[in-house]
Point group: C2
Protein backbone atom coordinates (compact mmCIF):
# COMPACT_ATOMS: atom_id res chain seq x y z
CA UNK A 1 0.00 0.00 0.00
CA UNK A 2 1.36 3.41 -0.95
CA UNK A 3 0.23 6.94 -0.33
CA UNK A 4 -0.92 9.19 -3.14
CA UNK A 5 2.55 10.70 -3.33
CA UNK A 6 3.92 7.26 -4.17
CA UNK A 7 5.92 6.86 -0.98
CA UNK A 8 5.17 4.00 1.40
CA UNK A 9 3.05 5.24 4.31
CA UNK A 10 4.52 4.79 7.77
CA UNK A 11 3.19 1.70 9.50
CA UNK A 12 1.47 3.66 12.24
CA UNK A 13 -0.57 5.88 9.95
CA UNK A 14 -1.56 2.88 7.82
CA UNK A 15 -2.68 1.09 10.94
CA UNK A 16 -4.49 4.20 12.16
CA UNK A 17 -6.29 4.63 8.84
CA UNK A 18 -7.32 0.97 8.86
CA UNK A 19 -8.63 1.29 12.43
CA UNK A 20 -10.48 4.49 11.68
CA UNK A 21 -12.19 2.90 8.68
CA UNK A 22 -13.13 -0.18 10.75
CA UNK A 23 -14.53 2.03 13.52
CA UNK A 24 -16.65 4.06 11.08
CA UNK A 25 -17.97 0.90 9.42
CA UNK A 26 -18.76 -0.68 12.80
CA UNK A 27 -20.53 2.44 14.07
CA UNK A 28 -22.69 2.77 10.95
CA UNK A 29 -23.54 -0.94 10.93
CA UNK A 30 -24.47 -0.96 14.61
CA UNK A 31 -26.73 2.07 14.42
CA UNK A 32 -28.64 0.28 11.62
CA UNK A 33 -28.83 -3.04 13.45
CA UNK A 34 -29.60 -2.04 17.04
CA UNK A 35 -30.51 1.65 16.77
CA UNK A 36 -28.75 4.70 18.18
CA UNK A 37 -29.68 4.25 21.87
CA UNK A 38 -28.18 0.76 22.04
CA UNK A 39 -25.06 1.57 20.04
CA UNK A 40 -22.17 1.93 22.51
CA UNK A 41 -18.47 2.73 22.32
CA UNK A 42 -17.86 -0.80 23.68
CA UNK A 43 -19.97 -2.33 20.91
CA UNK A 44 -18.25 -0.30 18.22
CA UNK A 45 -14.81 -1.26 19.56
CA UNK A 46 -15.68 -4.97 19.71
CA UNK A 47 -17.06 -5.00 16.18
CA UNK A 48 -14.17 -2.99 14.77
CA UNK A 49 -11.63 -5.22 16.53
CA UNK A 50 -9.96 -2.34 18.35
CA UNK A 51 -9.60 -1.45 22.02
CA UNK A 52 -12.05 0.97 23.62
CA UNK A 53 -9.11 3.25 24.38
CA UNK A 54 -8.38 3.61 20.67
CA UNK A 55 -11.82 5.12 20.20
CA UNK A 56 -11.59 7.34 23.27
CA UNK A 57 -8.24 8.63 22.07
CA UNK A 58 -9.84 10.04 18.92
CA UNK A 59 -13.44 10.82 19.88
CA UNK A 60 -15.25 12.11 22.95
CA UNK A 61 -18.54 10.26 22.55
CA UNK A 62 -20.47 7.90 20.35
CA UNK A 63 -22.23 10.93 18.85
CA UNK A 64 -18.82 12.24 17.74
CA UNK A 65 -17.89 8.89 16.20
CA UNK A 66 -21.14 8.70 14.27
CA UNK A 67 -20.93 12.31 13.20
CA UNK A 68 -17.51 11.75 11.65
CA UNK A 69 -18.53 8.41 10.19
CA UNK A 70 -21.34 10.26 8.39
CA UNK A 71 -19.14 13.08 7.18
CA UNK A 72 -16.76 10.44 5.83
CA UNK A 73 -19.64 8.61 4.17
CA UNK A 74 -20.70 11.81 2.42
CA UNK A 75 -17.14 12.28 1.14
CA UNK A 76 -16.98 8.70 -0.11
CA UNK A 77 -20.29 9.03 -1.93
CA UNK A 78 -19.21 12.33 -3.48
CA UNK A 79 -15.93 10.77 -4.62
CA UNK A 80 -17.74 7.82 -6.20
CA UNK A 81 -19.99 10.18 -8.07
CA UNK A 82 -17.00 12.14 -9.33
CA UNK A 83 -18.05 15.03 -7.18
CA UNK A 84 -15.00 15.15 -4.93
CA UNK A 85 -14.72 18.51 -3.24
CA UNK A 86 -18.33 19.29 -4.11
CA UNK A 87 -19.44 19.65 -0.51
CA UNK A 88 -16.49 21.76 0.45
CA UNK A 89 -16.85 24.05 -2.55
CA UNK A 90 -20.59 24.53 -2.21
CA UNK A 91 -23.26 24.52 -4.86
CA UNK A 92 -21.91 25.34 -8.34
CA UNK A 93 -22.41 28.91 -9.49
CA UNK A 94 -22.53 28.92 -13.27
CA UNK A 95 -24.79 31.97 -13.33
CA UNK A 96 -27.79 29.76 -14.15
CA UNK A 97 -29.52 29.35 -10.79
CA UNK A 98 -32.13 26.84 -11.96
CA UNK A 99 -29.49 24.60 -13.57
CA UNK A 100 -27.24 24.76 -10.52
CA UNK A 101 -30.05 23.87 -8.11
CA UNK A 102 -31.24 21.05 -10.35
CA UNK A 103 -27.72 19.61 -10.48
CA UNK A 104 -27.24 19.62 -6.72
CA UNK A 105 -30.70 18.17 -6.09
CA UNK A 106 -30.08 15.36 -8.59
CA UNK A 107 -26.91 14.54 -6.65
CA UNK A 108 -28.98 14.48 -3.46
CA UNK A 109 -31.46 12.10 -5.10
CA UNK A 110 -28.54 9.78 -5.90
CA UNK A 111 -27.29 9.96 -2.33
CA UNK A 112 -30.73 9.24 -0.82
CA UNK A 113 -30.94 6.14 -3.03
CA UNK A 114 -27.46 4.90 -2.09
CA UNK A 115 -28.01 2.00 0.36
CA UNK A 116 -24.73 2.78 2.18
CA UNK A 117 -26.20 6.15 3.05
CA UNK A 118 -29.89 5.32 3.38
CA UNK A 119 -29.99 2.86 6.28
CA UNK A 120 -27.66 4.63 8.75
CA UNK A 121 -29.15 8.03 7.88
CA UNK A 122 -32.63 6.73 8.59
CA UNK A 123 -31.53 5.23 11.89
CA UNK A 124 -30.07 8.54 13.02
CA UNK A 125 -32.95 10.62 11.68
CA UNK A 126 -35.47 8.39 13.46
CA UNK A 127 -33.65 8.78 16.75
CA UNK A 128 -33.49 12.54 16.28
CA UNK A 129 -37.27 12.70 15.87
CA UNK A 130 -37.84 11.41 19.40
CA UNK A 131 -34.63 12.60 21.10
CA UNK A 132 -34.64 16.36 20.74
CA UNK A 133 -31.14 16.96 22.06
CA UNK A 134 -29.62 14.39 19.74
CA UNK A 135 -31.76 15.61 16.84
CA UNK A 136 -30.66 19.20 17.36
CA UNK A 137 -26.99 18.24 17.61
CA UNK A 138 -26.99 16.19 14.41
CA UNK A 139 -29.00 18.80 12.56
CA UNK A 140 -26.58 21.52 13.66
CA UNK A 141 -23.49 19.52 12.74
CA UNK A 142 -24.58 17.43 9.73
CA UNK A 143 -27.56 19.14 8.11
CA UNK A 144 -27.02 22.87 8.70
CA UNK A 145 -23.63 23.02 6.93
CA UNK A 146 -25.23 21.76 3.72
CA UNK A 147 -28.22 24.10 4.15
CA UNK A 148 -25.73 26.94 4.44
CA UNK A 149 -24.50 26.11 0.93
CA UNK A 150 -28.01 26.90 -0.34
CA UNK A 151 -28.02 30.16 1.61
CA UNK A 152 -24.75 31.13 -0.05
CA UNK A 153 -25.95 30.21 -3.55
CA UNK A 154 -29.25 32.07 -3.07
CA UNK A 155 -27.42 35.16 -1.78
CA UNK A 156 -25.27 35.11 -4.90
CA UNK A 157 -28.46 34.84 -6.99
CA UNK A 158 -29.89 37.82 -5.11
CA UNK A 159 -26.81 39.87 -6.00
CA UNK A 160 -27.25 38.77 -9.62
CA UNK A 161 -30.90 39.86 -9.58
CA UNK A 162 -32.21 36.30 -10.11
CA UNK A 163 -33.86 36.04 -6.71
CA UNK A 164 -35.79 38.86 -5.07
CA UNK A 165 -33.60 40.86 -2.76
CA UNK A 166 -36.19 41.00 0.05
CA UNK A 167 -36.46 37.21 0.52
CA UNK A 168 -34.87 35.38 3.45
CA UNK A 169 -32.65 32.71 1.81
CA UNK A 170 -32.79 30.55 4.94
CA UNK A 171 -36.54 30.11 4.41
CA UNK A 172 -36.44 30.08 0.59
CA UNK A 173 -34.02 27.14 0.52
CA UNK A 174 -36.61 24.97 2.22
CA UNK A 175 -38.60 24.78 -1.02
CA UNK A 176 -35.73 22.81 -2.51
CA UNK A 177 -34.69 20.76 0.50
CA UNK A 178 -37.79 20.05 2.59
CA UNK A 179 -40.13 18.43 0.04
CA UNK A 180 -37.39 15.96 -0.86
CA UNK A 181 -36.64 15.34 2.84
CA UNK A 182 -40.31 14.65 3.59
CA UNK A 183 -40.65 12.22 0.66
CA UNK A 184 -37.58 10.42 1.97
CA UNK A 185 -38.61 10.40 5.65
CA UNK A 186 -42.33 9.80 5.23
CA UNK A 187 -42.71 8.07 1.84
CA UNK A 188 -45.10 10.75 0.61
CA UNK A 189 -44.06 10.28 -3.02
CA UNK A 190 -41.44 8.99 -5.45
CA UNK A 191 -37.94 10.51 -5.47
CA UNK A 192 -36.80 11.21 -9.03
CA UNK A 193 -34.82 13.76 -11.03
CA UNK A 194 -38.03 14.84 -12.74
CA UNK A 195 -39.55 15.59 -9.34
CA UNK A 196 -36.63 17.67 -8.07
CA UNK A 197 -36.40 19.54 -11.40
CA UNK A 198 -40.09 20.39 -10.99
CA UNK A 199 -39.55 21.70 -7.46
CA UNK A 200 -36.94 24.13 -8.78
CA UNK A 201 -39.22 25.42 -11.55
CA UNK A 202 -42.26 25.80 -9.28
CA UNK A 203 -40.28 27.51 -6.52
CA UNK A 204 -38.51 30.02 -8.74
CA UNK A 205 -41.56 31.03 -10.75
CA UNK A 206 -44.23 30.63 -8.06
CA UNK A 207 -47.59 28.94 -8.13
CA UNK A 208 -49.64 32.03 -9.03
CA UNK A 209 -49.84 33.09 -12.67
CA UNK A 210 -47.35 35.76 -13.74
Amino acid sequence: MVTQSGKPAPDTSRRSERSRRAIYDAALALVVEVGYPRTTIEGIAARAGVGKQTIYRWWGSKADVLLEAFLDLGELAARDAGRAGHEADGIPDTGDLAADLKAVLRATVDQLKDPRFDAPSRALAAEGVVDEQMGREFTARLLEPSLQLYVDRLRSAQRAGQVRADLDPRIALEFFVSPLAQRWLQYTGPITYEYTDTLVDYALHGLAPR
Copy 2:
Protein backbone atom coordinates in the same frame (compact mmCIF):
# COMPACT_ATOMS: atom_id res chain seq x y z
CA MET B 1 -74.19 11.31 31.83
CA VAL B 2 -76.55 12.04 29.01
CA THR B 3 -76.24 11.94 25.26
CA GLN B 4 -76.37 15.12 23.21
CA SER B 5 -80.06 14.57 22.58
CA GLY B 6 -80.69 14.78 26.34
CA LYS B 7 -81.72 11.15 26.76
CA PRO B 8 -79.75 8.86 29.09
CA ALA B 9 -77.35 6.71 27.11
CA PRO B 10 -77.80 2.97 27.36
CA ASP B 11 -75.37 1.39 29.79
CA THR B 12 -73.59 -0.64 27.17
CA SER B 13 -72.77 2.27 24.88
CA ARG B 14 -71.56 4.34 27.83
CA ARG B 15 -69.34 1.48 28.89
CA SER B 16 -68.12 1.03 25.31
CA GLU B 17 -67.32 4.71 24.94
CA ARG B 18 -65.41 4.69 28.23
CA SER B 19 -63.44 1.60 27.17
CA ARG B 20 -62.69 3.03 23.75
CA ARG B 21 -61.34 6.24 25.30
CA ALA B 22 -59.22 4.25 27.78
CA ILE B 23 -57.82 2.10 24.96
CA TYR B 24 -56.90 5.13 22.85
CA ASP B 25 -55.23 6.83 25.83
CA ALA B 26 -53.31 3.67 26.71
CA ALA B 27 -52.16 3.12 23.13
CA LEU B 28 -50.91 6.70 22.74
CA ALA B 29 -49.19 6.67 26.13
CA LEU B 30 -47.47 3.34 25.44
CA VAL B 31 -46.16 4.35 22.04
CA VAL B 32 -44.54 7.38 23.70
CA GLU B 33 -43.10 5.41 26.61
CA VAL B 34 -41.82 2.22 24.98
CA GLY B 35 -41.97 2.98 21.26
CA TYR B 36 -44.06 1.42 18.54
CA PRO B 37 -42.25 -1.94 18.24
CA ARG B 38 -42.73 -2.75 21.94
CA THR B 39 -46.32 -1.54 22.13
CA THR B 40 -48.57 -4.63 22.12
CA ILE B 41 -52.29 -5.34 22.22
CA GLU B 42 -51.66 -7.05 25.58
CA GLY B 43 -49.93 -3.96 26.94
CA ILE B 44 -52.68 -1.66 25.73
CA ALA B 45 -55.36 -3.90 27.27
CA ALA B 46 -53.56 -4.09 30.62
CA ARG B 47 -53.05 -0.35 30.81
CA ALA B 48 -56.61 0.43 29.73
CA GLY B 49 -58.04 -2.07 32.22
CA VAL B 50 -59.91 -4.05 29.59
CA GLY B 51 -59.65 -7.59 28.31
CA LYS B 52 -57.60 -8.35 25.22
CA GLN B 53 -60.76 -9.65 23.57
CA THR B 54 -62.40 -6.25 23.89
CA ILE B 55 -59.64 -4.81 21.72
CA TYR B 56 -59.71 -7.67 19.21
CA ARG B 57 -63.49 -7.28 18.91
CA TRP B 58 -63.05 -3.72 17.59
CA TRP B 59 -59.65 -3.68 15.89
CA GLY B 60 -57.57 -6.08 13.82
CA SER B 61 -54.09 -4.99 14.91
CA LYS B 62 -52.17 -2.53 17.04
CA ALA B 63 -51.63 -0.43 13.91
CA ASP B 64 -55.43 -0.15 13.59
CA VAL B 65 -55.81 0.86 17.25
CA LEU B 66 -53.14 3.55 16.93
CA LEU B 67 -54.50 4.79 13.65
CA GLU B 68 -57.93 5.36 15.17
CA ALA B 69 -56.45 6.80 18.35
CA PHE B 70 -54.70 9.38 16.17
CA LEU B 71 -57.76 10.19 14.12
CA ASP B 72 -59.63 10.68 17.38
CA LEU B 73 -56.83 12.89 18.72
CA GLY B 74 -57.08 15.08 15.62
CA GLU B 75 -60.82 15.43 16.12
CA LEU B 76 -60.38 16.33 19.80
CA ALA B 77 -57.77 18.97 18.96
CA ALA B 78 -59.99 20.41 16.24
CA ARG B 79 -62.95 20.53 18.63
CA ASP B 80 -60.87 22.30 21.30
CA ALA B 81 -59.79 24.87 18.76
CA GLY B 82 -63.39 25.45 17.70
CA ARG B 83 -62.61 23.91 14.38
CA ALA B 84 -65.04 20.98 14.60
CA GLY B 85 -65.83 19.63 11.18
CA HIS B 86 -62.82 21.45 9.75
CA GLU B 87 -61.01 18.26 8.70
CA ALA B 88 -64.09 16.76 7.16
CA ASP B 89 -64.94 19.93 5.25
CA GLY B 90 -61.44 20.52 3.96
CA ILE B 91 -59.49 23.75 3.75
CA PRO B 92 -61.75 26.84 3.74
CA ASP B 93 -62.45 28.34 0.34
CA THR B 94 -63.19 32.02 0.82
CA GLY B 95 -61.86 32.89 -2.61
CA ASP B 96 -58.64 34.27 -1.06
CA LEU B 97 -56.15 31.42 -1.51
CA ALA B 98 -53.34 33.02 0.49
CA ALA B 99 -55.60 33.74 3.46
CA ASP B 100 -57.08 30.24 3.40
CA LEU B 101 -53.66 28.56 3.29
CA LYS B 102 -52.34 30.79 6.06
CA ALA B 103 -55.31 29.93 8.26
CA VAL B 104 -54.92 26.19 7.85
CA LEU B 105 -51.16 26.34 8.38
CA ARG B 106 -51.60 28.37 11.56
CA ALA B 107 -53.93 25.66 12.81
CA THR B 108 -51.26 23.08 11.97
CA VAL B 109 -48.68 25.10 13.93
CA ASP B 110 -51.04 24.97 16.93
CA GLN B 111 -51.44 21.22 16.54
CA LEU B 112 -47.70 20.58 16.28
CA LYS B 113 -47.21 22.52 19.51
CA ASP B 114 -49.95 20.63 21.36
CA PRO B 115 -48.17 18.20 23.71
CA ARG B 116 -51.03 15.68 23.44
CA PHE B 117 -50.29 15.46 19.74
CA ASP B 118 -46.54 16.02 19.67
CA ALA B 119 -45.16 13.06 21.63
CA PRO B 120 -47.22 10.22 20.11
CA SER B 121 -46.89 11.70 16.62
CA ARG B 122 -43.12 11.80 16.99
CA ALA B 123 -43.03 8.22 18.24
CA LEU B 124 -44.99 7.01 15.22
CA ALA B 125 -43.11 9.19 12.74
CA ALA B 126 -39.76 7.94 14.08
CA GLU B 127 -40.82 4.34 13.67
CA GLY B 128 -42.04 5.02 10.16
CA VAL B 129 -38.63 6.40 9.19
CA VAL B 130 -36.95 3.04 9.83
CA ASP B 131 -39.89 0.67 9.19
CA GLU B 132 -40.91 1.30 5.61
CA GLN B 133 -44.06 -0.82 5.64
CA MET B 134 -45.36 0.84 8.78
CA GLY B 135 -44.32 4.28 7.50
CA ARG B 136 -46.15 3.77 4.23
CA GLU B 137 -49.29 2.53 5.95
CA PHE B 138 -49.51 5.45 8.35
CA THR B 139 -48.69 7.95 5.63
CA ALA B 140 -51.41 6.49 3.41
CA ARG B 141 -54.02 6.44 6.16
CA LEU B 142 -53.15 9.46 8.34
CA LEU B 143 -51.16 11.90 6.23
CA GLU B 144 -52.47 11.49 2.67
CA PRO B 145 -56.09 12.36 3.53
CA SER B 146 -54.99 15.77 4.82
CA LEU B 147 -52.68 16.28 1.83
CA GLN B 148 -55.67 15.58 -0.39
CA LEU B 149 -57.42 18.61 1.17
CA TYR B 150 -54.61 20.77 -0.22
CA VAL B 151 -54.97 19.14 -3.64
CA ASP B 152 -58.68 19.99 -3.60
CA ARG B 153 -58.09 23.61 -2.52
CA LEU B 154 -55.36 24.12 -5.12
CA ARG B 155 -57.56 22.64 -7.86
CA SER B 156 -60.28 25.11 -6.90
CA ALA B 157 -57.68 27.90 -7.07
CA GLN B 158 -56.65 26.68 -10.53
CA ARG B 159 -60.28 26.91 -11.69
CA ALA B 160 -60.42 30.43 -10.23
CA GLY B 161 -57.25 31.41 -12.11
CA GLN B 162 -55.23 31.97 -8.91
CA VAL B 163 -52.85 29.07 -9.49
CA ARG B 164 -51.35 28.20 -12.87
CA ALA B 165 -53.41 25.59 -14.63
CA ASP B 166 -50.39 23.53 -15.72
CA LEU B 167 -49.06 22.86 -12.19
CA ASP B 168 -49.42 19.49 -10.45
CA PRO B 169 -51.22 20.32 -7.17
CA ARG B 170 -49.82 17.17 -5.55
CA ILE B 171 -46.31 18.59 -5.89
CA ALA B 172 -47.26 22.25 -5.31
CA LEU B 173 -48.81 21.47 -1.92
CA GLU B 174 -45.43 20.32 -0.65
CA PHE B 175 -44.24 23.94 -0.48
CA PHE B 176 -46.80 24.50 2.28
CA VAL B 177 -46.58 21.17 4.09
CA SER B 178 -43.00 19.89 3.79
CA PRO B 179 -40.97 22.82 5.17
CA LEU B 180 -43.12 22.80 8.29
CA ALA B 181 -42.83 19.01 8.55
CA GLN B 182 -39.05 19.15 8.29
CA ARG B 183 -38.77 21.89 10.95
CA TRP B 184 -40.90 19.71 13.20
CA LEU B 185 -39.10 16.43 12.49
CA GLN B 186 -35.55 17.72 12.29
CA TYR B 187 -35.49 20.96 14.33
CA THR B 188 -34.23 22.95 11.36
CA GLY B 189 -35.90 26.15 12.53
CA PRO B 190 -38.61 27.73 14.71
CA ILE B 191 -42.27 26.98 14.03
CA THR B 192 -44.33 30.18 14.10
CA TYR B 193 -47.30 31.81 12.36
CA GLU B 194 -44.93 34.34 10.83
CA TYR B 195 -42.93 31.52 9.29
CA THR B 196 -45.91 29.71 7.77
CA ASP B 197 -47.35 33.01 6.47
CA THR B 198 -44.00 33.61 4.77
CA LEU B 199 -44.04 30.16 3.15
CA VAL B 200 -47.40 30.96 1.57
CA ASP B 201 -46.21 34.31 0.20
CA TYR B 202 -42.94 32.92 -1.18
CA ALA B 203 -44.62 29.88 -2.75
CA LEU B 204 -47.41 31.77 -4.46
CA HIS B 205 -45.26 34.55 -5.85
CA GLY B 206 -42.04 32.60 -6.45
CA LEU B 207 -38.46 33.38 -5.56
CA ALA B 208 -37.52 35.01 -8.88
CA PRO B 209 -38.44 38.67 -9.46
CA ARG B 210 -41.70 39.25 -11.32
